[in-house]
Symmetry: C2
C-alpha cells in the first residue's frame, strides 16, 4: 500500500486485480487473515495511539467540538473494541458461494443462482477511525476488495490502521491491493473515485448532504447512499399514551446524532392531550428543543409559550441533535401523507393498539423499516442480527436498510449443459 505514489485510478485498478484473485480465495484463508488483523491491531496499539494523538491535536487546533473530538479519539480500550469487532465479523456466516436458487430448465440446463462478491467496494466516511477497520473487515469477509476514503481529520490514524490491515492481510495470503486508502479531504479525488467505471463496483458514501450532492453530480459508478434519516414517530388514536411517550422519548433522546433517531413526532388529535404535556416536560428536561404547530402548542400548557413554531422547513430537516418537530394530525391518512412527503424512507414508527391502523401504516408508508410499537432506533445491522453494517440504505435498489455482508454481494447464474443450443 503506497498511497502517496499512486493515483486514484491506479489504486482502483490494483483493487480490481486483487478482487479477481479474492474471488478465488477460500473463506478459511480470508477468515484467518482477518483474525490476524485483529491480533496485530492490538499488538500495535501504541503505534495507533501515537498517530491518533496527532489527529486529535490537529482537531483541537482546528477547533473541532467535543463530540467530534470524541468520535476521533482512540484509546487502548477502543482499539481493543475495534479488534473485537473484526473478530465478530469473522464469526458471521460466509455469504460467498451461497446457493440462492437452483433448477433444471426446460432446455435441460442445470441453472444455479450463486452469491458472489461485488468486486471492488469503495467507502467514503466521516472522521471515525474505527470505520477504516470495520469497512475493511466487512469487505474482505464478503470477498471484496475495498478502497477506503476517510476524512482528512483522521488521516494519521487511518494511514496507520489501513497499513496494519493491508500488511497483515497480504502476509496472510490475500492479494496486494485488497485494502487501500485514498487520502481524504480532496473533493477532486472523490470525483475521481466515483468515476472509475469498470473498476469500482459500488461506492458507499456515509455522511452528510454535501457528500451526497457531490456524488449525485459526479458519480458514474453505482452508488448506495447511506445515512440520511428524517424519521417519524406517529402516535395513533389507539395508542397507549405511556408506551407512546417511552417510544417517542427513546427515538429522540437515546442517541440523537444517528440516522435512525426520530426528528418529527406526529400525534393524533384524540390522544394528544394524554400524551403531549408530560412528554414535552420530559423532552424539555432532556434538553430537547421543541418546534411545534399551533395545536401542539395549545396542549403544552404554560410551557407552550417557550416553544418555537415549526416551519415547513422543519418537516424536512434531519436535526441529528436535540431538536424535535411536533405536529398534531387528524388521522392515519394525514400521518402517512406527511411521512411519505417529508420522510427519507429510513425508519418510521407507529404506536397503536389498532391492528388495522398498524397494517395500513406498514403497507402504505414507503420506508426501509417500519415499526409497530417500537422505537425507530432498532434499524441497525447488529440489532437485526446481520452483524456489523456498512451503513443504512434509504434507496430501494439492491440494499434497503442495514448494509451487511449479504448486501455487499451480488449473484451470478451458472448453467451447466451437455451441448444445449437455442432453437
Amino acid at each position: 500500500m503506497a498511497v502517496q505514489a499512486q493515483t486514484v485510478a491506479e489504486i482502483c485498478a490494483q483493487a480490481k486485480r486483487a478482487a479477481r484473485k479474492l474471488a478465488t480465495i477460500d473463506a478459511h484463508t480470508r477468515d484467518a487473515a482477518l483474525n490476524a488483523v485483529a491480533d496485530d491491531l492490538e499488538a500495535r496499539t501504541d503505534e495507533i495511539l501515537e498517530a491518533n494523538a496527532l489527529d486529535v491535536e490537529d482537531g483541537r487546533a482546528a477547533g473541532l467540538d467535543d463530540a467530534l473530538i470524541d468520535r476521533l479519539t482512540l484509546t487502548q480500550e477502543r482499539v481493543h473494541e475495534v479488534a473485537e469487532a473484526v473478530r465478530e465479523i469473522v464469526a458471521l456466516p460466509d455469504p460467498v458461494g451461497e446457493l440462492i436458487e437452483s433448477k433444471t430448465l426446460r432446455s435441460g440446463l442445470d441453472l444455479e443462482k450463486v452469491r458472489v462478491p461485488l468486486g471492488v467496494v469503495a467507502i467514503v466516511y466521516e472522521a471515525r477511525p474505527n470505520v477504516t477497520v470495520d469497512a475493511a473487515a466487512l469487505a474482505i469477509k464478503s470477498g471484496n476488495a475495498v478502497v477506503l476514503r476517510g476524512s482528512s481529520s483522521a488521516q494519521h490514524s487511518n494511514a496507520v490502521l489501513a497499513q496494519i490491515v493491508a500488511d497483515t492481510l497480504t502476509a496472510g495470503g490475500l492479494p496486494e491491493g485488497a485494502v487501500s486508502l485514498v487520502a481524504g479531504g480532496d473533493r477532486g479525488e472523490l470525483a475521481q473515485l466515483a468515476t472509475q467505471d469498470g473498476l469500482v463496483d459500488l461506492i458507499i458514501p456515509r455522511g452528510g448532504g454535501g457528500l451526497k450532492t457531490t456524488l449525485k453530480e459526479h458519480a458514474t459508478v453505482p452508488v448506495i447512499y447511506a445515512a440520511a434519516g428524517n424519521c417519524h414517530v406517529y402516535v395513533d388514536a389507539a395508542a397507549d399514551p405511556q408506551m407512546a411517550q417511552e417510544i417517542a422519548y427513546n427515538a429522540k433522546v437515546q442517541r440523537p446524532g444517528v440516522c435512525n433517531a426520530a426528528e418529527t413526532l406526529l400525534v393524533h388529535a384524540e390522544v394528544a392531550p394524554a400524551v403531549l404535556p408530560e412528554l414535552f416536560e420530559r423532552l424539555h428536561a432532556a434538553g430537547v428543543e421543541l418546534l411545534v404547530d399551533a395545536r401542539a402548542r395549545a396542549l403544552a400548557g404554560p410551557q407552550g409559550e417557550g416553544l418555537s413554531d415549526a416551519t415547513d422547513e422543519d418537516w424536512d430537516t434531519e436535526y441529528l441533535g436535540l431538536k424535535m418537530a411536533v405536529r398534531v394530525v387528524d388521522g392515519l391518512d394525514e400521518a402517512i401523507d406527511h411521512i411519505n412527503r417529508h420522510g427519507t424512507g429510513h425508519s418510521e414508527a407507529i404506536v397503536t393498539g389498532d391492528d388495522v391502523a398498524a397494517d395500513r401504516f406498514c403497507g402504505e408508508v414507503d420506508a426501509a423499516c417500519v415499526y409497530v410499537n417500537a422505537s425507530t432506533r432498532f434499524t441497525d445491522g447488529g440489532e437485526f442480527g446481520m452483524g456489523a453494517e456498512m451503513g443504512n440504505s434509504t434507496q430501494k435498489l439492491h440494499a434497503r436498510g442495514p448494509i451487511g455482508l449479504r448486501e455487499l454481494t451480488t449473484y451470478k447464474y451458472v448453467a451447466h449443459g451437455d451441448g444445449q443450443v437455442r432453437e
Copy 2:
C-alpha cells in the same frame, strides 16, 4: 392519460400517486384488470393496426431498413401474441408480499422482510410496440406504476396501445396514472424523466450506447442498464470439437441481433485445428463475416485469405449482426483475461470436458451468466423460468441477468413490538 397536456414531471407525480394506491390493491384485482387488457387489445385490434399502419408508412418514408420495419409492424396475429403475453404474465406467481425472511430479534421485536413494489418504474425502449404492453403488464403485475417512453417511430402504435392499457386498467379499479406514456424522440424529455428524484424509483433503458451515454450523463434517479452484450464462446483444450462447433454456431447465428448472441470466439490452440476449419465454413455459409487473428487465419485453409484482420477494436465491439471476431489463445487464463477485459458481463460460455477448467471459468469470469457446454443464447427470462423479462441487466447491483417480476420489486422490513425501546 392525457399525454399532450402534461409535463414529464406531472406525469411522474401522477404515477407516484398511483403507485401509492397500487401498493394497497390486492393481486386478484390487478390480475383481473390485466386479463381485461388482454381481451380489450384483441377486441380493438383494428384500431391498433390502423395506428400501426401510420408508423410503418412513416418508417418507410424515413428509409428504415426491412429488419426495423419488421420489428415495428403489427398484424392481427401479433396483436393476439401481445395479448397472450399479458395472460402469461398474469399467470406468473405474484411477487408482492412474499415473506423473504422472518425472525425474532434479541429485543423481542418480530422482524419480517417483505417483498414490495419499487413504486414507479420508467422504461425507455426501442421501436417495438409490443414492449409497450409487455412492460406495462410486468410493472402492474409486480405492483408498480409505469412510465413508458417509446420510440418516436412507433408513436401512433404506442399511443393507442398505452391508451387501451390505461383505460382498461382504470376501468378495472386501478388508479389513474398507473400506466402513462411520454412521447418519444426528444432527448430533453428523456433527461427530465431521468431526473425525477423521489418520483421515479427506477429507470430501465433498453437500447444502444447513445441512450446509455445520455443517461450516464443526466440520470439522478436509479438506473438499471439493459442490453449491451459483448458475449464470448471459449472452446477449451478439452472440448468436444463437434459440440464446440454447434454451440459457437448457435451463439452467433441463431439470432444475431440480440444481446446474448456471441460476438467473439476464443479457441484454445490445441483444439483449434479440429474446430476452426469446418466451423469457418459453416459460419461463412450462414453469411457471417469473420474477423480473425493471425493464428486463426492460418487454420482457415484456402478460405483464410478472404478473412479480415481482427483489430483491438473488434474485441470490444458488440456487432449485433452477422460478424464474429475469432482469436486463438494458449490457455484458460488467457481466455478468462480476454473476457474480463473486453466482455460486458452479460453471458459467457466455455465448451470443455474438463470440470476443473469449467469451475475456474465459472468462478473467475465476471459476468451475469456463465455457461458450461451450452450456448450463450439461453440468457432470457423465459428460458430461465422467470416468465417475461423487462431486459437483461449487466450491472451487479439489484438485478443481474434477466429482469423479471421479482427484479421489479424491493423489500421492506416490518417490525412488530410491544413497546420496545433501545437501551
